[in-house]
């Protein structure tokens, strides 16, 4: 007959308390393992969520059109940007605008030119695009207005600047209405971007936006870097993608030479990569749990030899082998359970500290990591104390009572 649970708890608890140094060391080992799993998976999952939110800050229901086409889908196409068989043109962009599923369309050119005002000048990234760009990217204006509503091919000499440009080139005076020199041309500042906007690879505070036709003149190129298309809603994304491919194929003599990727696809790819990464670091951290398990085995083996007379006594008092095994296993399980709970607290504290230091990283450990680390530590405690428990159960009571 096995002893009742609360008796086992009491008995094991007194044993754990009787050897505070070994209990503390064990708890720390197990806690570090569990905390490592929690913090590392929180980092991985935080990175995944960070990327996801960055991508949705690009805009909603976006379809991106790149020049060039390779058979690989998704991110692989980014590598093809430079090897372009046929350019995307403004006419291509205009041709795409005639579809009811498309809400906004913004062609995009990007380059770097020298901007100067008064005596100050510096190299600045310049984006050439259309008036729909602002809403498509969910950016805000701090003052003035955005690019005017005109035909795409009109090169109006106006520009919208980021707040950092404003501070560095115009210092104290208001930039609105001033003429800013970009390369060999002059542009009138009509607006300033708010600082809130964020986007991958682009610092909104440190750019200048001009009409796409002006940018083509400035960079002396007839082609576009890419075309951003916003579908009417989530369900329109697929037909829009299909429409773009068909339309551009027609315009390019039946050759498919553009890559069309949807925001969803990119997001899904990143999601997959970062989830895999999270599992991987979680797995690596779990190795420390296994190490803690081996430590448990060591400690329990020592405990068994330290307490030989006690085990001999329990046998003399009528405890069968199974009961001895149960008691040793229970003690180890209690040790690893306490360590796991301690690790949980430690891990959550670590995640909290991470969020304090890196506010933009949502470092929350996923639920599966919490559950898995608990389960693995309990399992390690169980598996690695089987050997010590069997050893205790097999002690000869006569020899054990004499401490041999």
């Amino acid at each position: 007959m096995p002893a009742a649970i609360h008796d086992s708890i009491h008995f094991s608890w007194t044993a754990l308390r009787a050897y505070p140094a070994r209990t503390l060391l064990m708890l720390i080992a197990m806690a570090i393992g569990v905390a490592a799993v929690i913090i590392l998976t929180a980092l991985g999952d935080g990175a995944r969520r960070y990327i996801a939110s960055e991508f949705s800050s690009l805009g909603t229901n976006l379809v991106l059109v790149f020049p060039g086409y390779s058979k690989t889908s998704g991110l692989g196409s980014l590598a093809m940007v430079n090897a372009t068989p046929r350019d995307l043109t403004l006419n291509d962009a205009q041709a795409l605008s005639r579809n009811s599923n498309i809400r906004r369309i913004a062609p995009m050119n990007i380059g770097s030119v020298n901007a100067s005002f008064g005596g100050r000048s510096r190299e600045v990234p310049v984006i050439g695009t259309s008036h729909e760009f602002l809403k498509l990217r969910h950016w805000q204006l701090a003052q003035g207005s955005f690019l005017p509503v005109t035909d795409l091919d009109r090169a109006t000499p106006v520009c919208v600047i980021g707040s950092k440009i404003q501070n560095e080139l115009f210092t104290a005076q208001s930039p609105l209405g001033q003429w800013l020199r970009l390369g060999e041309r002059r542009f009138r500042v009509i607006g300033v971007l708010a600082t809130e906007g964020r986007s991958i690879g682009i610092d909104v505070q440190d750019i200048i936006i001009i009409p796409v036709a002006s940018a083509q003149q400035l960079f002396n190129t007839p082609s576009l870097f890419r075309i951003l298309v916003e579908a009417k809603n989530r369900f329109a994304i697929k037909p829009v993608k299909q429409f773009i491919i068909e339309q551009l194929k027609q315009r390019h003599q039946g050759k498919r030479d553009v890559t069309v990727i949807t925001q969803d696809a990119v997001l899904a790819t990143f999601d997959r990569i970062l989830s895999t990464l999270t599992y991987a670091v979680g797995g690596i951290a779990a190795i420390s749990l296994a190490v803690a398990g081996i430590l448990i085995m060591n400690v329990m083996l020592v405990a068994v030899s330290q307490r030989k007379t006690e085990i001999g006594l329990l046998k003399a008092l009528g405890a069968p082998q199974t009961q001895i095994i149960h008691l040793i296993l229970f003690e180890a399980m209690m040790l690893s359970a306490l360590g796991a709970v301690l690790g949980l607290i430690l891990g959550e504290l670590g995640c909290y500290a991470l969020r304090q230091f890196f506010p933009e990283l949502p470092a929350y450990a996923p639920l599966w990591a919490l559950l898995a680390s608990m389960a693995v530590s309990l399992l390690a405690g169980l598996v690695f104390s089987l050997l010590p428990a069997r050893q205790a159960a097999r002690l000869d009571p006569v020899l054990a009572l004499t401490g041999k």
Partner: protein, 248 residues
């Protein structure tokens, strides 16, 4: 109640075989008070462990309440130890981190008895041994005599039929030793079979039946003198027992 016939117990020491018990024949009835005496290495502790099912015979049969226990499994032997046999050791073997009351309670816990049934029995055992004001003390806060009284309470809490005491006074001063013997004898008067292994002739001679051992054999058994023929074996003269005192 206890029926040992042709019991041998051999230990392997290196490549040599040592006969700790050599053809033991012994019959013990309920309620007997027996002392087993003899020099170190004479096999008296081995005999006690064997009777208590902590050790098993290499050869021979052991009937306990008409049941052959030499063929029992480990679990069944443990159950018999739990229900029928109580042990008192020279070194007390109290668990140092448990209080006196918890040490006494231990056999009840191991036997799976519910807490509400355990408490009154533990309380009674504590007051019977006169340790009421020491119940919450750990063993290191108790004197030797008190520790052995706790150990006796623990050995008898399951109300066993047989109480086995291996040098119960070996670690005690004379006064405490006498107290412990008095408690044990009182238990015997209440019907428990008491078997004491001892070096001390003064204690050994108090027993109604005295067994002398030497080199794993029973040298004399006072019981045989009064009841000749119950068991085979030699019965040397009684004065041999006096020699035992020279070993203490």
């Amino acid at each position: 109640m206890i029926e040992l016939s042709n019991i041998h117990r051999d230990f392997k020491v290196g490549d040599q075989s040592v006969h700790a018990l050599d053809n033991i024949n012994l019959s013990i009835h309920p309620g007997e008070y027996i002392s087993i005496m003899g020099p170190s290495g004479s096999g008296k502790s081995t005999l006690l462990n064997l009777i208590g099912l902590l050790d098993s015979a290499s050869k021979g049969t052991y009937l306990l309440n008409q049941q052959d226990v030499t063929v029992l499994h480990e679990r069944e032997k443990a159950a018999i130890r739990s229900q029928t046999i109580g042990f008192v050791f020279q070194a007390f073997h109290l668990i140092p981190r448990l209080t006196a009351a918890e040490n006494i309670e231990l056999p009840l816990i191991l036997a799976g008895i519910a807490p509400e049934q355990r408490q009154p029995r533990v309380q009674k055992a504590i007051s019977d041994t006169g340790l009421s004001d020491r119940a919450d003390h750990t063993p290191d806060q108790l004197s030797g005599g008190q520790r052995q009284r706790v150990a006796i309470a623990r050995a008898t809490i399951m109300q066993p039929k047989i109480l086995l005491a291996d040098e119960p006074t070996g670690n005690l001063d004379q006064k405490s030793g006498q107290d412990v013997i008095a408690i044990l004898e009182q238990l015997n008067q209440q019907g428990i079979s008491l078997i004491i292994v001892t070096h001390d002739a003064h204690i050994g001679l108090r027993a109604k039946r005295q067994i002398q051992m030497l080199d794993g054999r029973i040298q004399s058994d006072s019981h045989l003198n009064s009841n000749p023929g119950t068991s085979p074996g030699t019965s040397p003269p009684r004065q041999d027992q006096a020699n035992a005192s020279s070993h203490t």
